[in-house]
C-alpha cells in the first residue's frame, strides 16, 4: 500500500490479487446477494484507492481492508432498512453443484453436495453477528482481538460469537454424517 501511495500501480495489482477473493466471499456471505456483494466490493476498493494518500501503517493491511468492508456492509444494511435476506439455496442450486456423469462414484458426490448444501444452509441461518465473526475469522485470517476491534466489540464477545457459530456448524455437519454413513 505504501508503494502504491508512491505511485507504484503494480504494487496495488499484487495487493488486489491477494485480497480480492477472500474479501468478495466475506461480502457475499454477509449480504448473501451477488449483486449487492459486487457493489460493496467496488465501494470498498474505491475507498482503499481514495485513502492511499493518507494511508499510514498502523496495523495490518487486512485489518484496514476488512474494517472498511465491515463498515460498508453495516451502511448498506442501514440504507436498506432491514437485513437483506438472500434467497435460500434450493435443490436446483445443489444440482448445479453436482459433478457430471464422468464422476466415478455418483453416490459419494451426491453425499458431498448434500453436505455442502447443509453446511451452507447452517451458515446462512446463523445470526448475523455470529456469521459476521465466523466469516471474518475464516476469510481474513485476523485474530479475535482484531475482529473484535473491527466489529466494535470486546475480544471475549467476538470469541463467544465465534464459539456459538462453530458449535452450530459442527452440529449441522454431525447431522449429515450419520446419514451419509448409513448410505
Amino acid at each position: 500500500m505504501l508503494r502504491y501511495r508512491k505511485g507504484d500501480l503494480r504494487a496495488f495489482e499484487i495487493l488486489y490479487a491477494k485480497h480480492k477473493a477472500p474479501l468478495y466471499r466475506y461480502l457475499l456471505r454477509t449480504c448473501r446477494d451477488q449483486e449487492t456483494a459486487s457493489d460493496l466490493f467496488q465501494e470498498v476498493w474505491g475507498k482503499v484507492i481514495a485513502s492511499r494518500e493518507r494511508y499510514e501503517v498502523r496495523a495490518q493491511f487486512n485489518t484496514f481492508l476488512y474494517r472498511i468492508a465491515h463498515n460498508c456492509a453495516i451502511d448498506y444494511f442501514r440504507r436498506a432498512g432491514r437485513r437483506h435476506e438472500g434467497r435460500a439455496q434450493d435443490v436446483d442450486d445443489i444440482a448445479e453443484e453436482l459433478p457430471g456423469a464422468e464422476q466415478a462414484h455418483p453416490d459419494v458426490a451426491l453425499s458431498e453436495a448434500q453436505m455442502k448444501a447443509e453446511f451452507r444452509r447452517a451458515l446462512d441461518q446463523l445470526p448475523p453477528e455470529q456469521r459476521d465473526v465466523f466469516v471474518l475469522y475464516e476469510e481474513s485470517g485476523l485474530s479475535l482481538e482484531e475482529i473484535g476491534k473491527i466489529t466494535g466489540v470486546a475480544m471475549e464477545t467476538a470469541k463467544s460469537r465465534l464459539r456459538y457459530a462453530v458449535s452450530k456448524l459442527r452440529a449441522a455437519l454431525k447431522q449429515h454424517q450419520p446419514a451419509s454413513a448409513q448410505t
Binding site: 502504491y4 508512491k6 505511485g7 500501480l9 496495488f12 495489482e13 488486489y16 480480492k20 477473493a21 468478495y24 466471499r25 457475499l28 459486487s38 466490493f41 467496488q42 476498493w45 474505491g46 484507492i49 481514495a50 492511499r52 494518500e53 453443484e97 453436505m115 455442502k116 453446511f119 451452507r120 451458515l123 475464516e138 479475535l144 464459539r163 462453530v166 458449535s167 456448524l169 459442527r170 455437519l173
Partner: protein, 291 residues
C-alpha cells in the same frame, strides 16, 4: 463432559485444524467477476495518473528541499541583518568626551547644546565626584551622525590651509598682547605632555581619525588651526575631542584657568572663539580671559 469436548473442539478450531474450517473452504471458490477486477484496477490506475496525484507527489518530493531552502534564506537574512546593525552600531560608537563642570555653577540655558534625540533617550553619563573641589567629571557620549559626509580635502587645498595657518601663527607671535617666548615654550611643553597623556590622537591627525570613524568634519576655523605648523601648541589648547563640543572645550578652558595656566587658557580661548564665533558664552564665564 460435553462442555469440555466443545472447548477442546473450539481450541482445535482456533488452531485452524477443525473440519468446520475445511468444509467452509471447500464450499466454493467464489471469485469476483472479471469485469469488476478491470473496473477497480482501472480506477486505481486513473488515481495514480491523475494530475492532482502528480501534483501531490511533486509537492511531497520537493517539500523537504523547499523547506530547507526557505529556512536557509531566512537564517542568512537574519544573520546579514544583525551584521549590518552591528556595523552601524560600531560606526555610530561615540567618542568619549571628558568635560568638567563645577557643581555650584549651573550651566546657562544658552550654553546648553541640544543633544540628538536618540542620545537623549539613552544617556551614558558617568559622574564621579573628584575630591574636595566639588567638581563633577562628566563623561559624555557625544552624539555622532551615523553617516556623516566625508569631506575630502585635496592636497593643494591642504597646503593652502597649512600656509594660512602658519601665517596666522606668525601674526599671533608678532602680536604684543599675546604670548611671549617663555610662555610659548611652556605652552609647547604642556602641549607635548598633554598630547602624550591625554590626547592619543593629535589634532593634526584629526582628519585621518575622523574619516576612519566617519564623524562630521570639524568647523572650518578649527580645520585651519589643525593644519597649523605649530600644531602641538594648538593641540594642547584645543584638543581634538573638544573641537566638536564647545561646552566641553569651555570646561577645559575653565579648568586651565583654575590650575593657573592662564597663558594656555587664553590661547585656548582664542582658538575657541575662532572655532565657535557664534557660541553664546556668559560674560562672567570663567573661561573668558581675565580683564
Amino acid at each position: 463432559m460435553s462442555g469440555s469436548i466443545e472447548d477442546k473442539d473450539f481450541e482445535q478450531y482456533l488452531q485452524r485444524k477443525s473440519p468446520v474450517s475445511e468444509h467452509y473452504h471447500s464450499l466454493d471458490g467464489i471469485e469476483p467477476p472479471p469485469d469488476l477486477d478491470e473496473k477497480i484496477l482501472a480506477k486505481a490506475a486513473a488515481e495514480v495518473r491523475s494530475p492532482l496525484a502528480e501534483k501531490s507527489r511533486a509537492w511531497k518530493k520537493w517539500s523537504v528541499p523547499v523547506a530547507l531552502a526557505a529556512s536557509t534564506v531566512i537564517a542568512v537574512s537574519i544573520v546579514l541583518e544583525s551584521g549590518v546593525r552591528h556595523e552601524i552600531t560600531t560606526s555610530n560608537a561615540p567618542s568619549v568626551v571628558h568635560s568638567e563642570r563645577t557643581v555650584a555653577e549651573p550651566a546657562t540655558p544658552d550654553a546648553i547644546e541640544p543633544a540628538a534625540p536618540a542620545m537623549n533617550q539613552t544617556p551614558a553619563t558617568e559622574r564621579a565626584t573628584r575630591g574636595d573641589d566639588q567638581k563633577v567629571v562628566d563623561v559624555d557620549i557625544a552624539p555622532r551622525p551615523a553617516f556623516a559626509p566625508q569631506v575630502e580635502v585635496p592636497d593643494a587645498q591642504m597646503q593652502a590651509l597649512a600656509k594660512k595657518a602658519e601665517q596666522k601663527a606668525e601674526e599671533t607671535e608678532r602680536a604684543p598682547d599675546v604670548i611671549d617666548s617663555v610662555a610659548e615654550e611652556r605652552v609647547a611643553e604642556t602641549a607635548v605632555e598633554s598630547s602624550s597623556q591625554r590626547s592619543p590622537t593629535p589634532a593634526s591627525q584629526y582628519a585621518t581619525v575622523s574619516s576612519r570613524r566617519a564623524v562630521a568634519p570639524p568647523p572650518a576655523a578649527v580645520r585651519d588651526l589643525d593644519h597649523a605648523a605649530d600644531a602641538t601648541a594648538v593641540a594642547s589648547a584645543a584638543p581634538a575631542q573638544y573641537t566638536h563640543d564647545p561646552k566641553a572645550w569651555l570646561a577645559h578652558i575653565r579648568n586651565l584657568r583654575e590650575q593657573g595656566d592662564d597663558v594656555q587658557a587664553d590661547t585656548a580661548w582664542k582658538l575657541f572663539e575662532a572655532a565657535f564665533p557664534d557660541f553664546a558664552v556668559a560674560e562672567d564665564d570663567l573661561a573668558r580671559p581675565k580683564k
